[in-house]
Subunit: 236 residues, 2 copies
DNA sequence: TAGTGGTCTAGACCACCAC
DNA sequence: TGGTGGTCTAGACCACTAG
C-alpha cells in the first residue's frame, strides 16, 4: 500500500472513530510531513483525496477541518434492460408498440424546434424476458440533437441500449416511484391495481436534452440496488 | 483554472466528442508532457483524476485507454425522513409502535452474539407529516456495535436521524422496490392493494453490520431522485 | 528486457485571507 | 503581512508486464 494511501486511511480512521470530530481542525500539512516523515506533496495528495471525498474541508490560511457529516449518497446503477435480463439468464426481446415523429413540442422533452426538421421521436415499446412482459417503456428522443435516431430500427435495437452506446451524456436525472399498473396492466399482464416500480429518466449532453424515458416494471421480482462504498474500501 | 484541470477537461472533451473512442489508447504521459509543455506530475494528476472518474483505464507498460462506456451510475440521496418532511414544510412526528431487545439472532441482521449482552434492538415506528401517516419503518440495530442505542428514547428521536448523527458508517446498501401495502395498509391509512415504495437499507462500519431498516412509503406523492453530474460539471 | 504508469522527493512560486 | 493550501517542476526509483 502506498504511503499516501496509508496517510489517508490513517486520517480517515481518526475521523470515523470520533477521535477527530466534525469541525475539528486537523494538523497542518507541514505538521503531517513531520509526523509521517514524508514530503509535502505526499501529504497533499492524501488530504486532497479526503477533501474530494467530502470528509474534510480545506481553507487557505486556516487549515483543514473535519466535515460536518456524511452526506448520505449512494451509487445507483441504472440498469440497461437488455443487459439486466440477459444477466439473469433470460432471453431478451423487444416489441415496438408505437413510433411517432413529432414536429411540435408537446411532450416531456423541452426541444427548441428547427424549422423544417423533426423535433422529437416518440416511442413506446415492451421489453420481454423469455417472451414474458418485463417492462413497458415510453420514450422521447431529441431529434435536433440526435438526428440519426430517426434511421434506427427500434423494433430490433432497444432504444436505451442504442443511446447508451451511441450518444454519450454528461448529465442525468432519475426519478424512482411506485404506482398501480393502471392503463398499462394489459401490456404487463397484470391486474390494474398491481403495484409497479416506475423509473423516469432524463439525460442531457452539455445542457441540451437528449432523451426522456419512463419505464414501468411489475413490482414482483424487480428492485434497484444502490451501494455506497466508504472511502476505506476505495481502490488506490 | 489550473493546468491539470485544463488538461483533464481537454482530454475529457476529446473523449465525449467521440474524437477518442472507447478502446482507443490515449497518448502516453511523456507525449502529453511535450504536448502541454508541463511536467509529468501535472499530466499524471489529470490522468489519475480521469481514471478515478472511470473515463479511462490505465495499465502499466501498455498505456491508458478510453473506457468502454459510461457506467450508468447515479448519486442517490437517501432521505432522512424527518428532514424530508420538514423540507416539504410539514410538521414531523413519530410514533413508536413496538420495541424489543433480542438476545438471539433471528432477524435480518447478522450479529455474532456476546454472552450476557443484548444483540439486537428491534423497532417498529410510524412517521407522520402534520399528523398524517408518511411512512412505516421496521428497524434492527446491532447492540453489540451500538450499545448506547438501548438507552435512546426512539419515541422522541427518529432512529434514522439518531444513527445518522451518532454512528458513522463506512458502507451502505439500499434496495428500492415496490409492493402493495398489504398488512401495513392500516398503519398507512391505505387500501391493502395500494402501491407502495419500499426502501430497504443496510449499513456497516468497518465490516460490522450496524442497522437494517425497511421503510414503506405510500406511492402517492413520494419518489426518490438520483442525479448524475457528468465529469465536466465537477468542481476542481 | 525495455517502457509504462505509480509513487515520492525537495524545492519553488503563487493566491488567498485572517490578523 | 505571514502562514496556509494550490500548484508545478525536474528528477528519481520502483513494480508491473508485453514482447
Amino acid at each position: 500500500m502506498s504511503l499516501h494511501s496509508r496517510i489517508r486511511a490513517d486520517i480517515e480512521r481518526r475521523i470515523l472513530s470520533g477521535e477527530w470530530k466534525p469541525g475539528d481542525r486537523i494538523p497542518f500539512e507541514h505538521e503531517l510531513v513531520v509526523e509521517y516523515g514524508c514530503s509535502r506533496m505526499t501529504v497533499n495528495k492524501a488530504l486532497s483525496a479526503l477533501a474530494a471525498a467530502g470528509l474534510i474541508n480545506r481553507r487557505r490560511r486556516t487549515g483543514s477541518f473535519v466535515a460536518q457529516q456524511h452526506v448520505d449518497m449512494a451509487a445507483l446503477a441504472i440498469p440497461d434492460i437488455r443487459e439486466e435480463i440477459e444477466t439473469r439468464g433470460g432471453t431478451y426481446s423487444i416489441e415496438l408498440l408505437s413510433r411517432k415523429v413529432g414536429l411540435s413540442n408537446g411532450g416531456q422533452l423541452q426541444v427548441s424546434p428547427v424549422p423544417g426538421r423533426p423535433a422529437i421521436l416518440g416511442l413506446s415499446c415492451r421489453h420481454l424476458s423469455d417472451g414474458m412482459p418485463f417492462a413497458v417503456e415510453y420514450r422521447e428522443i431529441n431529434l435536433v440533437q440526435v438526428p440519426e435516431a430517426e434511421e434506427v430500427d427500434f423494433a430490433v435495437t432497444p432504444p436505451g441500449s442504442w443511446l447508451l452506446v451511441n450518444v454519450p451524456w454528461t448529465e442525468a436525472e432519475n426519478r424512482i416511484s411506485a404506482r398501480a399498473a393502471g392503463g398499462d396492466c394489459r401490456k404487463l399482464g397484470l391486474q390494474p391495481d398491481a403495484a409497479c416500480l416506475v423509473l423516469e429518466r432524463r439525460t442531457w449532453r452539455s445542457g441540451a436534452p437528449i432523451t426522456f424515458v419512463r419505464q414501468i416494471f411489475p413490482a414482483q421480482g424487480f428492485s434497484l440496488v444502490a451501494r455506497f462504498i466508504g472511502m476505506s474500501a476505495q481502490p488506490d
